[in-house]
Symmetry: C2
Subunit: 541 residues, 2 copies
């Protein structure tokens, strides 16, 4: 029975699941001949790209891949990576984009835990994938497709077929269907937790759609952006920008390697209007000898540590307008933005940098953001001083952690997502992160768990005690710095400890600095990391 007179039924004509797949369908229809992808000398139109995505969906379906199945991809920012963001969900499947910097053991864990049925592997990363596959029991081994990107370094195939052959077997006019439910999963992104194995963060079509739209709104993006892929697509699905670019009928400018020359070259050639990246990307641009002011403004979103005033000023002089954003894998990437107020333009550079360094306010498509006492869940006063935890809620919060109901429940306790980050709320309501309760180091845009690094250090035979903290770094933002006490009578060196770590975990996670000596503790034996952080800040060399 109808609830009230306005309670009219949902029917085929007036309701459809929200999905970012709608965007590529429309753009391929309206702007078939516009360039969708630039990759070195290669160009593909939206019609061509859409046809390739449909081939992928068709080929996956023919292999029995469907709703609720996982398809993994391990590749840098190449055309295949863009295509996977559409082709995989068009088959009803869930895209799991794996960080190319991970070690074989972690990759094997992700493939196994995520139950990947198919893996697409860029040949540059075939060796680590081969090692990972060797760690998986034969019955769980996925079907492996080698992506032979012409711009990739030479390498041997490790898979069952070649990507182009795989697509060739698919139908370019494949009649894929929208997800029956917008709550269906679209992506699975593993995040290195502070303890134990990585957690699988599940995104749904509704959230991906809304965040794609939110990106365009937040940036006030005009039609046809030319978007440079400096941000890895394996980070929160490139913060959902593959779908934003499709929605706005823009161009994806691919980039295998984030290097100053490659960035400047791509900007020049493709007329880049937008890019995202960690602060390190600014360093690459600023420090490149060939850098020249851009003829037209370029908009850049940056997340992680906020860049210092001098960097911001230099970037602005080159024609880059920087927007500072913040978020987590669990929130589809950044969902807060330091929304700019025009009157701040009149402030001196240091003050503008201070204002911009704040993580800001919620995205227009997110619903709730607060800095609150984690026990009472009461918001802290807007005084710029009282610390609280950052909480978020709304449609841009993950569906949950895969096969981990305990962690999901804990993360969502009290009706809010617990970020684990500590912040203050300023009088204007803008939040500013002051510390990370999760012991995360952000180095070159990658999250590193101090606890994971400590776990490896403790496996070293000479190590008695270890503590890892962030050390500020002009290039990387932060690097892991290890404080180590050796066992009585044992010896080691900084180089030996670092080499040991590199052998036992992804290279980028290994400490860059090792300091030997006793560790500061409270009277009850609790490690005083804040003392070590202070020490790390003032280390020389």
């Amino acid at each position: 029975m109808a609830r009230d007179k306005f309670d009219l039924p949902m029917v085929a004509a007036n309701h459809e699941a929200l999905s970012p797949l709608s965007f590529i369908k429309r753009t391929a229809d309206v702007f078939p001949d516009r360039v969708a992808i630039v990759h070195g000398p290669h160009r593909a139109t939206w019609a061509e790209t859409y046809a390739r995505c449909r081939r992928m969906a068709s080929a996956l379906t023919a292999r029995g891949v469907g709703r609720g199945d996982t398809v993994a991809v391990m590749a840098p920012n190449t055309p295949a990576m863009v295509e996977a963001h559409f082709g995989v969900p068009m088959a009803g499947a869930v895209l799991c984009a794996i960080n190319v910097r991970l070690d074989a053991e972690t990759v094997a864990f992700i493939l196994t835990h995520g139950e990947a049925r198919v893996v697409l592997i860029d040949r540059e990363f075939a060796p680590v994938m081969a090692q990972a596959l060797a760690l998986i029991p034969a019955e769980a081994r996925p079907f492996v497709v080698d992506i032979n990107d012409p711009l990739a370094p030479p390498g041997e195939p490790v898979g069952d077929t070649d990507y182009e052959a795989f697509l060739a077997g698919g139908d370019p006019a494949y009649a894929w269907t929208q997800p029956p439910d917008e709550w269906d999963a679209i992506a699975l992104n593993y995040t290195s937790g502070t303890t134990g194995n990585p957690k699988g963060v599940v995104y749904h079509h509704r959230g991906a759609y809304l965040n794609a739209v939110g990106n365009a709104m937040t940036w006030g993006m005009a039609q046809h952006p030319v978007y440079l892929w400096t941000l890895p697509m394996f980070h929160c699905n490139g913060w959902c920008f593959p779908w934003t670019v499709a929605a706005m009928a823009g161009t994806n400018v691919c980039l295998r390697r984030v290097e100053g020359g490659a960035i400047l070259g791509a900007m020049e050639e493709a007329g880049v209007t937008h890019l995202c990246g960690a602060p390190i990307v600014m360093g690459l641009i600023l420090n490149h000898p060939g850098v020249q002011p851009r003829p037209a403004p370029v908009r850049m979103m940056t997340a992680g540590a906020a860049p210092p005033a001098a960097v911001l000023e230099s970037m602005e002089r080159l024609g880059f307008a920087i927007t500072h954003v913040y978020g987590l894998t669990e929130t589809y990437g950044p969902v807060t933005v330091c929304a700019w107020h025009e009157e701040w333009d009149a402030e001196p550079p240091e003050e503008r940098a201070r204002l911009k360094a704040r993580q800001g306010v919620t995205y227009p498509v997110q619903e709730g953001l607060m800095v609150a006492d984690p026990t009472t869940m009461q918001p802290v006063p807007r005084d710029g001083a009282t610390m609280g935890e950052v909480f978020m809620r709304g449609n841009i919060v993950m569906k949950g952690y895969l096969k981990n109901p305990a962690a999901t429940e804990e993360a969502f306790a009290g009706g809010w997502f617990h970020t684990g980050d500590l912040a203050v709320s300023h009088p204007d309501g803008y939040l500013e992160i002051r510390d990370r309760s999760k012991d995360i180091i952000i180095s070159g845009g990658e999250n590193i768990s101090t606890i994971e690094v400590e776990g490896v250090l403790y496996r070293h035979p000479a190590v008695l005690e270890a503590a890892v903290v962030a050390r500020p770094d002009p290039t990387w933002g932060e690097t892991p710095c290890a404080f180590v006490t050796l066992r009585p009578g044992m010896e080691s060196t900084e180089a030996e400890i670092i080499a040991f770590c590199r052998d036992h975990m992804a290279r980028f996670k290994a400490p860059r600095t090792v300091v030997f000596g006793p560790l500061p503790k409270t009277s009850t034996g609790k490690m005083q990391k804040f003392v070590l952080r202070d020490q790390a800040r003032t280390l020389k060399g």
Copy 2:
């Protein structure tokens, strides 16, 4: 039981109903001091506007108005009209914005059929409202609030209280809640059908949210648009732009009357960046003696008849970029857009006008659009020649007609919304309306049903037969033209017939031209309207 491993639950942290109310909440929080409303000398910030909307919601709630109740408003584009778009749904109620040009009988029908519990009435339209209220039985009479806009002409109150007094009784910090369900109704818009009484088109929060966002995407709108209200907010809720302007933290520039001088004055004073309006608005701008090229580009969306090449050219020379859109009340206003291709800029003016005159392609937030055979529902070939009916489907199609399941079912038959408009599909997929199967005349942006006008004509004692068609008009786009056969032995004049019509229906619907004589019919007695349309096109004077 979970469907598959990705089937994780919807909880408070990760799901919220989509509603455009989120936008005002965020903008009032992030940009409290930005100007939300300009109305003559009056300025209101977003913080002030939000507080007034909360007062309205609080005052309505105190009167017992809540979920599923209707609140009507009859006002031109004033601050109260903007506020009603937020305050009414914040109370959980449904906003019914009534066309100020309607006659008392139709207004009474709308109030009764929509079961309005409260009516907000601008004092300029108090007389017609008083007549309408007199037609309603005492027990169904709504509570009436007089809006005494300082810029309104003088007039007597007809209501139970004054708008400012009503708001003063509400709480500016009222804790309104998001709708429990995004499928809940937000607005009720009456559309003059071709036969019988107007139909009440119901919008939901989800659709209003998505169309608000779609407007920004379609226009590639930057943050902080300054939006001039030349389009009445009682037309499809100003095509959802009250919500778009809030989402983009823009400024609403109000306008009681759409006149050349007022438009140009508002543009000058407020620095307008965007406006919407029927082609007649272009005429008002172009023909005003004070018109000067705008110092910065202004973007204008126009719907209804496409403007001729000369008008487009003149507007462009003045700095206006025109976007042509199309839609119906049933689709939250325009949901197709003649999305522009940069390469068309190189075409000569006539060709550009021809391309722009097409109704185009679907909005990015709508799902389906096709020109198809209405019996087989098969799309017509993209040949620019084969006629078919325009069909749409997706989240920007109405919830349905209020208390009219038969009409709703008919409109949604076959899983698509039947627009009743006839079009061709061009080789590039752009549609072009060729005829309206519903016998609608669009005059100055208002829809007029030829059947309704004919019904009034038949009530004239001297009229034997009557047929009404559109006559092209340089100012109004079209005007109603009546062809009349008088009863044997009876006499009348054009002026007398027009006066009779004006007495029996809204003034703007009355014929502007009356032609006497026999009416062309087929051998089976069916009226040949196409012959009359040809005649109307070539009439002199």
